[in-house]
C-alpha cells in the first residue's frame, strides 16, 4: 500500500472518529414510545395530511380522574371565596394536568421496526416530565405493524 493511500485512510479514520466524537457529545434525544390508547394520553390529534399533530400527556399525579376532580373541587372552592379569602388572584388557577407536544408542518418519519432505537416508555417520560426539553420524539405503532416517529415541540408555559 502506498504512503499516499495510508495517509488518506488515516485521515478518513480521523474524520470518522472526530465526527463520532461530536455526535456523542450531543445531549441524548428524548424518544418516547407511546401507546395512543394508554391512560397516560389525555388526548391526541393527527391531522389527515399527517403534517400536524398534537399529543397531550398527563402529568403523572393527574392521570387519575379522582386526582383531577379533587383539584377542580379545590379550585372551584377557592374561586367561590376569592372576594374574601385575600388570595393572590394570579395564583388562583387549576394545576397543569398535562403537557402538550405539538407538530406543525412537518411529516413524521416512517419506521419499519424499532431495532436500534433507544426509547423511553411513557411511564419513564412522565417521571421526568419536569425535565422534558425540545425536541421530543414520539413513536407510535400503526395498524400495519410499522411505526410513525414525530419530532414534537413541548408547549412552553409562562406564568
Amino acid at each position: 500500500m502506498s504512503t499516499i493511500k495510508k495517509t488518506l485512510i488515516f485521515l478518513l479514520l480521523n474524520c470518522f472518529y472526530l465526527s463520532f466524537s461530536q455526535t456523542i457529545k450531543k445531549r441524548n434525544d428524548q424518544v418516547v414510545l407511546l401507546d395512543l390508547k394508554s391512560k397516560a394520553v389525555r388526548e391526541y390529534n393527527i391531522h389527515r395530511d399527517t403534517m400536524s399533530a398534537r399529543f397531550s400527556i398527563y402529568i403523572k399525579k393527574y392521570e387519575s380522574k379522582k386526582e383531577r376532580d379533587k383539584a377542580i373541587k379545590i379550585y372551584n372552592e377557592r374561586v367561590k371565596n376569592i372576594k374574601t379569602s385575600g388570595e393572590n388572584p394570579s395564583e388562583l388557577r387549576l394545576p397543569d394536568f398535562s403537557v402538550g407536544l405539538y407538530v406543525f408542518d412537518r411529516k413524521p418519519e416512517k419506521l419499519k421496526s424499532l431495532d436500534g432505537i433507544k426509547f423511553m416508555t411513557i411511564n419513564q417520560f412522565q417521571d421526568s416530565i419536569n425535565f422534558a426539553r425540545d425536541p421530543i420524539y414520539i413513536i407510535h405503532k400503526l395498524k400495519d405493524g410499522t411505526y410513525l416517529k414525530w419530532k414534537t415541540n413541548i408547549m412552553d408555559i409562562v406564568d
Binding site: 376569592i82 394570579s90 395564583e91 398535562s98 405539538y102 426539553r133 412552553d156 409562562v158 406564568d159
Partner: protein, 498 residues
C-alpha cells in the same frame, strides 16, 4: 609554518561562517516568531467590538526586555479612532498591547486592554515599568478568548479573576518588581465607565459625466459618536463562565446604543446566587441592559423610587413545575421572579421575552403594593375599588375578570388579561431592542407566548381551555399563524443553554 597559518586561517573562516550562520538563524527565528504571532492574532474574533473594529497592532515597533530569565516582547496596539472614557475613577485614554513572554522554555502570548486609574501615572506601554501604575489589565488570548483580569497596584499584580490562565502573566509581572507588601482593595464590577469613540468621515461631491470625473468638491465632515457605558472591570469571585458571558453581552452592542450594563441594572435589583451563577440568564439579562424599555421597567425597582425590592432567582416552582418562569407577589415588600433552569434550552430572545413578561407582572405588583401602603397586597374587592382613581385600568381588569364576573362567566388572571390587551407592543419593543434581526411576525408570536390563556392550545382552533379574552377575540387563522411562527422560531434558533 605556512601549514599552521593555513589551518588557522581555515579555522577562522569556519568560525566566521558558523557565526554568520547562527546570526542568520536568529534573524530567521525572530521573523518566524513575529509571523507566528501575526498568524495567531485574530482581532476579528474578539467579542469586544472596539478591539474588533478599531484596534490595530504596530508590528514594526517591538520592545524587547530580558530580566531574570524572562524574555518579554511587547507590541504596541492603537485605536484607529481614539476612544475616550468618561469615568470618575479612570483615565480617559485606553491602551492596548500584545505581549509575548518566554520563561523557562514556556512561551505565552496575551492581548491586553489597559485601564488606568485617575491617580496612576500614564501607562508607559510596557509591563516592565509598572511601579507607578495603578489600574487593571483585561487579558485575552490571541483568538479573543477573555481570560479574565489582573489588577495592578504599583507593580503588584493580582489575578482578580482567579483564572489559572492568568497565573503565568501575574507571576511574571510580580517577578519584575520588589513587593511593597501593600495590599489595597480594588473595586470589582461595582462601577461603570463610558467609552466614547468619535469617527469622522469627510464627504465629497463627485460630478461625473459618462464615467469621466469632472470635479470633486468637499462637502462636509460627518462625525459619528459611539457611546457605550460598561461595567468595570466586571470580574471577580463569581462563576468564570458567567463573567465571560457578561462581558460578551456587554460588548455585544456594536450599534452605538448607550446602555447601563449589568452594574447599572444590578443597582435596582437583588440577584440570588442561583441567578448570578447561571451564564445563560446573566447573559440575556445583561444584554437586556441595551433595551431602554426594559430598563425603564427595571428602574422602577430602584431603592430611591420603589416600595418593593425585586429579586431574581433560579428554581422550579412547586405548583407550576413546568412553567418557564414565575413572578411571586410581594412578601415583606420583596417581589421574586424565579426562572426554571430546565426551561433554558430555548433561544435567548425567548428568554428575553420571559424577562419582559415577568417584569410586567412585577411592575403591577409594585403598583398595587405602593397603593396599599403595606408590605403585602391586601387582596380584596374593596382594596381594588380603593385604587380605581389611581390605577383605573388595573382596577378595571381585576373587577372585570375576577371580582365582578357576569353570570355564566368564568374568572381569568387579571394580569394576563391586562397584558394580552395592553402590553403586547411593550414586550415587542423590548424584544426588538434586544435583537433587531427578526421579522415583525416573529416578535408578535414570541410576545404572545404566555398570554394566550391557561392550558394547551388546541391544534385546530389555537384556543386553550381557558383563553384570555384578547386571544379568543383574535381570528383563528391568526392564532394558528402565531403558534406556528413561534414553534418555527424555536426550532430554527440556537438555544441559550442545552
Amino acid at each position: 609554518m605556512s601549514r599552521i597559518t593555513n589551518y588557522l586561517t581555515g579555522a577562522f573562516l569556519l568560525f566566521l561562517l558558523l557565526s554568520c550562520t547562527n546570526d542568520g538563524n536568529d534573524k530567521i527565528g525572530k521573523t518566524d516568531s513575529l509571523n507566528q504571532l501575526r498568524e495567531e492574532l485574530h482581532l476579528e474574533k474578539f467579542s469586544n467590538t472596539n478591539i474588533t473594529g478599531n484596534v490595530e497592532v504596530n508590528w514594526n515597533n517591538s520592545r524587547q526586555t530580558e530580566k531574570k530569565d524572562v524574555a518579554i516582547v511587547e507590541f504596541d496596539a492603537k485605536e484607529k479612532f481614539p476612544s475616550k472614557l468618561q469615568s470618575s475613577f479612570l483615565k480617559a485614554e485606553m491602551n492596548y498591547q500584545l505581549i509575548s513572554i518566554e520563561s523557562e522554555g514556556e512561551l505565552k502570548n496575551y492581548f491586553i486592554e489597559i485601564f488606568s486609574y485617575n491617580d496612576s501615572e500614564t501607562y508607559s506601554k510596557t509591563i516592565t515599568k509598572l511601579d507607578k501604575f495603578r489600574g487593571v489589565f483585561n487579558v485575552f488570548s490571541l483568538n479573543g478568548q477573555n481570560l479574565g483580569s489582573i489588577a495592578i497596584d504599583h507593580g503588584n499584580a493580582r489575578n482578580i479573576s482567579e483564572s489559572k490562565a492568568l497565573d503565568f502573566l501575574a507571576e511574571t509581572i510580580n517577578s519584575l518588581y520588589v513587593s511593597s507588601g501593600i495590599t489595597k482593595k480594588i473595586p470589582l464590577c461595582d462601577k461603570t465607565y463610558t467609552q466614547v469613540v468619535e469617527q469622522s468621515e469627510d464627504r465629497y461631491r463627485v460630478v461625473s459625466v459618462g464615467g469621466k470625473i469632472l470635479s470633486v468638491e468637499y462637502m462636509d465632515t460627518v462625525v459619528t459618536r459611539t457611546t457605550t457605558i460598561l461595567p468595570y472591570p466586571c470580574d471577580g469571585s463569581g462563576d468564570k463562565d458567567a463573567i465571560i458571558l457578561q462581558r460578551v453581552a456587554h460588548y455585544y452592542t456594536g450599534d452605538g446604543k448607550s446602555y447601563a450594563g449589568v452594574s447599572g441594572l444590578l443597582d435596582a435589583i437583588i440577584t440570588d446566587p442561583s441567578f448570578s451563577n447561571n451564564p445563560c440568564l446573566v447573559a440575556v439579562f445583561t444584554k437586556l441592559g441595551g433595551s431602554p424599555t426594559f430598563q425603564t421597567y427595571l428602574k422602577r425597582f430602584d431603592a430611591d423610587f420603589s416600595v418593593a425590592d425585586l429579586k431574581l432567582s433560579v428554581g422550579i416552582d412547586a405548583t407550576h413545575s413546568t412553567a418557564s418562569a414565575v413572578t411571586y407577589q410581594p412578601v415583606n415588600s420583596l417581589i421574586e421572579i424565579k426562572f426554571n433552569p430546565e426551561k433554558l434550552n430555548t433561544p435567548p430572545l425567548n428568554i428575553a421575552k420571559n424577562f419582559a413578561h415577568e417584569i410586567l407582572h412585577a411592575e403591577m405588583f409594585e403598583k398595587l403594593l405602593r397603593l396599599s401602603a403595606k408590605k403585602e397586597i391586601p387582596w380584596s374587592q374593596e382594596f381594588i375599588e380603593s385604587i380605581r382613581n389611581d390605577e383605573p385600568q388595573i382596577a378595571e381588569y381585576y373587577t372585570r375578570y375576577l371580582y365582578d364576573i357576569p353570570i355564566g362567566g368564568s374568572i381569568s388572571d387579571p394580569q394576563h388579561e391586562y397584558m394580552a390587551q395592553l402590553s403586547i407592543n411593550t414586550i415587542k419593543d423590548i424584544l426588538k431592542q434586544y435583537d433587531n434581526t427578526q421579522s415583525e411576525d416573529v416578535y408578535t408570536a414570541i410576545a404572545w407566548w404566555g398570554l394566550m390563556g391557561i392550558g394547551e392550545p388546541d391544534d385546530i382552533t389555537g384556543l386553550p381551555p381557558q383563553p384570555t379574552a384578547a386571544w379568543a377575540n383574535m381570528p383563528q387563522a391568526e392564532r394558528l399563524k402565531i403558534v406556528k411562527t413561534y414553534l418555527n422560531f424555536k426550532n430554527t434558533n440556537s438555544p441559550c443553554q442545552q
